[in-house]
Symmetry: C2
Subunit: 348 residues, 2 copies
DNA sequence: GGATTTTATGGTAGCGCTACCAACTGGCTG
DNA sequence: CAGCCAGTTGGTAGCGCTACCATAAAATCC
C-alpha cells in the first residue's frame, strides 16, 4: 500500500525457486487461501464443489504444501524423531524399519538420530530435534537424563520409549523385559543339564539392557546354587569378530566350559563360525544360546538356539501407539509387552 | 494497538508449552532479537561483549532455536532427506550410517525415506520431503522420474546421488561403476579357470544395479566366448533364505556348475551356509564369488571371495560433498568414484 | 578535521500457513 | 416472516525467526 520502490516485481526474496504457494492455488480455484487449507486438511468441512475445484487447482499447479510454514502456524510438522543408540546394530535398524514403514504410510516422516549409548548426547539431540516441532518422539530405553524426561513430560505430545519395558515411563512404552529374557535363556541352559555356563557380552557398560539380561542370567544360576562369575566381556562394539575373539578368550580361560550364553546373535554367530572352522563341536563340546533371533541364526550349522524378539513388530507397535495418539484417540494400553520367544534349535 | 478483549494474558495460542523464544533471550540479554540471531548464527559479526551476554542468556533460559521458524524465514532447515530403496538391506543402512554420522557432526539431521525400489514412490516421497525446505537431498541411483529430476535440478540446492556412478547426474554423484564391478568378479572366476559360471540374483527387475553387474558379468564371459545364459533369479527380496533356495535350484538345474557369481553377500552367505550343511565343498565342488564385502563373509568357512565396496565411506563421502556445498564452497570434484576392491579369499 | 568507509546494532517486514472469529447462506421453526 | 441455527466461506493476525535496510558508532582516509 503506497509502497514506492521495493518489490522489484514479484516476491521479495529467497525461497529458492518461487514455489507454488497456497495463495496461488486459491487464486486458481477462485477461493480464499484458508479454504484451500481446509480442503486439504479437513476435507469434510468444505463443500464437495469447492473441494473439487481446489483439488484440480492443486493438481494443475503441482502444489506441494510447505510443511514448515504449516508447522510454524499450527505446531506439529508430521516429523517423528526416532532416537536410537546406534545405527550399526542390526536390532535398532529393524525396529526403525518397522517404525518408518508404519509412519510413512500415515504421512509422517522419520527423523533419525543416534546417541552412541550416551545419555548426554541423547539429551542434546532431543533438544535439537525439538526445534523441528515434531508431532511426537520415539526414543530408546527408559533411562534418560532428568532434563530429557522433564522436557518430554511437560511437552504434551506423544512419546514412546522402546526396547525396554518398565516403570516409570515418560508416556508410552513398547518393549520387553530384559531381565526375564536373560533368565529365560539361563533356565533353558540349566534345563539342558549344563552347569558351567558363561555369559559373554561386549560393550555392556554402555548397553545396560545387556547388563539386565546378564542380571536375569545371574539370578537364575544363583537360584540353582551356581555361582555365576563366568562373565566374559570387553568394551568393543558388538560384531562377529568381537564374538569370535571373546569366545576364544573364554575358552582359553575356562577350558571346562559347557555352555555359553551370548548377549546377542552377532557375538554368537562370530563364535559359532569360529567353532565350525576349528572343528569345535556345538553343542557336544560347548553349547551356545543367544538373544535376538536374527535370521542368520537359522542358517548356521548347528542352527542357533536363541531368545528371539520381534524387532520389526516392536517398531510397528510403537508407531501405531504414537499414531493412535496423534489421531486423538487414547490407546487402551499405553504399555505393550512385545514379548520374546525361546527358539530352541540345535546349538544347545 | 487499541485492541480491547483478545489476548487473555500472554501468548495467543497453542505451541504446546510456551517455549522460550528468541525475544525472551533478547530481553534477558538486553539486546534486539536480531542480535541474538546473529550471535548464534554468525558469531563473528557480533562484538565479543554482546556475544557473551547472549550466550549467558541462552544458557540461563535454556533457549533452543525453533528451526521451523528459522527455516521459514530463511529457507533451509538443516534437514537432509536421505532416500534409499529399502531399509531391510544392510548395504543401504551402512551408507545411511555414514551419512548420518557425518551430517550429525555438522549439525544437520537425516530425514529417512524409503521407496521400495519404486520410482513413483520416490517421486512422491521427494515431493513431500521438499515440503520441509531441506538444505539438501541425498538419493539413491541415477534413474529417477523426469519430474523428480526436473524439480531437483531447478531447486538450486545440493543434491547427491549415491550408489551408482555415471552421467547424467542431477548435481553431484558418489558411487561405483556396477558394470565394472560385475565384470571384475566374472574375470576373476575366469582367471581361476572356471567356465560353467552362473549368475545368481533376486529382485533384479527392481534393483537395476544388480542387473548392471550381471551385464558386466555377461560381457566378460561373452568376450571369452562363453554364452552366459546361466542366470538364476527370483523376485523375492534378498535374504539368506533366498540365497539358499536359489542356490539349490541352480544346482538342481545345472549339476555341472563350476562357479556361482552371487549378486550380493547375503545370497552368497545363505548358499554357502547351506553348502556347509550339506557337505558340498567350496570351492572344490563349486566356487562362489560375490559382491559387497559384508563382514560376515570373512567369518564363513571358506572365507568368501567378494568384490567389496566401502559402503560406510560412500555415505561419508556423499555427506562431505553435500556439506562442502552447504558451506558455500564448490567441491573440486562433484563426481566421486568410491571404488571397489576384489577381495580374493578361500571360496574361489 | 571533515569526508568517507567500515563495523556494530536495531527496526521492519514478511517466509507460507492455519487458529480464531466474523459474516454470510439457506433452511427451518413457531 | 422474523428469528434462529447449522453449515460454509472469508478476513485477519500471528507462529518465531531472519533478510533487508537504516542508522549509529567507530575506524580510516586525504
Amino acid at each position: 500500500m503506497a509502497n514506492e520502490k521495493p518489490l522489484p516485481q514479484g516476491r521479495r526474496r529467497h525461497q529458492g525457486v518461487n514455489r507454488v504457494t497456497i495463495s496461488d492455488v486459491a487464486k486458481e480455484a477462485g477461493v480464499a487461501p484458508i479454504t484451500v487449507s481446509r480442503a486439504l486438511n479437513t476435507p469434510d468441512r468444505v463443500s464437495a464443489k469447492l473441494r473439487k475445484r481446489v483439488d484440480q487447482a492443486v493438481a494443475s499447479l503441482g502444489y506441494v504444501p510447505n510443511l514448515i510454514a504449516g508447522g510454524l502456524a499450527s505446531a506439529g510438522t508430521r516429523v517423528i524423531p526416532v532416537v536410537v543408540p546406534s545405527l550399526s546394530i542390526l536390532t535398532f535398524i529393524e525396529v526403525v524399519h518397522g517404525i518408518q514403514q508404519t509412519l510413512e504410510g500415515a504421512g509422517y516422516q522419520v527423523l533419525l538420530g543416534s546417541t552412541d549409548f550416551d545419555l548426554d548426547r541423547e539429551a542434546s539431540l532431543i533438544d535439537s530435534v525439538m526445534g523441528y516441532s515434531p508431532s511426537g518422539v520415539i526414543l530408546t530405553g527408559l533411562r534418560h537424563h532428568d532434563r530429557t524426561v522433564h522436557r518430554l513430560q511437560t511437552w504434551g505430545r506423544p512419546v514412546v520409549e522402546i526396547m525396554e519395558l518398565g516403570t516409570p515411563c515418560i508416556d508410552m512404552n513398547v518393549g520387553i523385559d530384559n531381565i526375564q529374557a536373560g533368565a529365560c535363556m539361563a533356565q533353558h541352559l540349566l534345563d539342558r543339564g549344563y552347569r558351567r555356563i558363561a555369559f559373554l557380552g561386549v560393550g555392556m557398560t554402555r548397553d545396560y539392557r545387556a547388563q539386565q539380561r546378564f542380571e536375569g542370567h545371574r539370578q537364575v544360576l544363583a537360584a540353582a546354587g551356581i555361582e555365576s562369575n563366568l562373565l566374559f566381556a570387553s568394551e568393543e562394539p558388538s560384531s562377529y569378530e568381537a564374538g569370535r575373539r571373546v569366545f576364544l578368550e573364554a575358552l582359553a580361560a575356562r577350558p571346562d566350559l559347557e555352555a555359553i550364553h551370548f548377549a546377542n546373535d552377532n557375538l554368537a554367530a562370530g563364535a559359532l563360525l569360529e567353532a565350525n572352522r576349528r572343528g569345535i563341536r556345538v553343542p557336544e563340546d560347548i553349547a551356545m544360546g543367544s538373544y535376538l533371533g536374527l535370521s542368520l541364526g537359522e542358517h548356521l550349522t548347528p542352527r542357533l538356539t536363541t531368545v528371539s524378539v520381534p524387532r520389526f513388530e516392536m517398531g510397528v507397535e510403537a508407531a501405531k501407539l504414537l499414531l493412535e495418539r496423534l489421531q486423538g484417540r487414547t490407546p487402551s494400553q499405553p504399555r505393550v509387552d512385545i514379548g520374546y520367544r525361546l527358539t530352541v534349535r540345535e546349538s544347545t
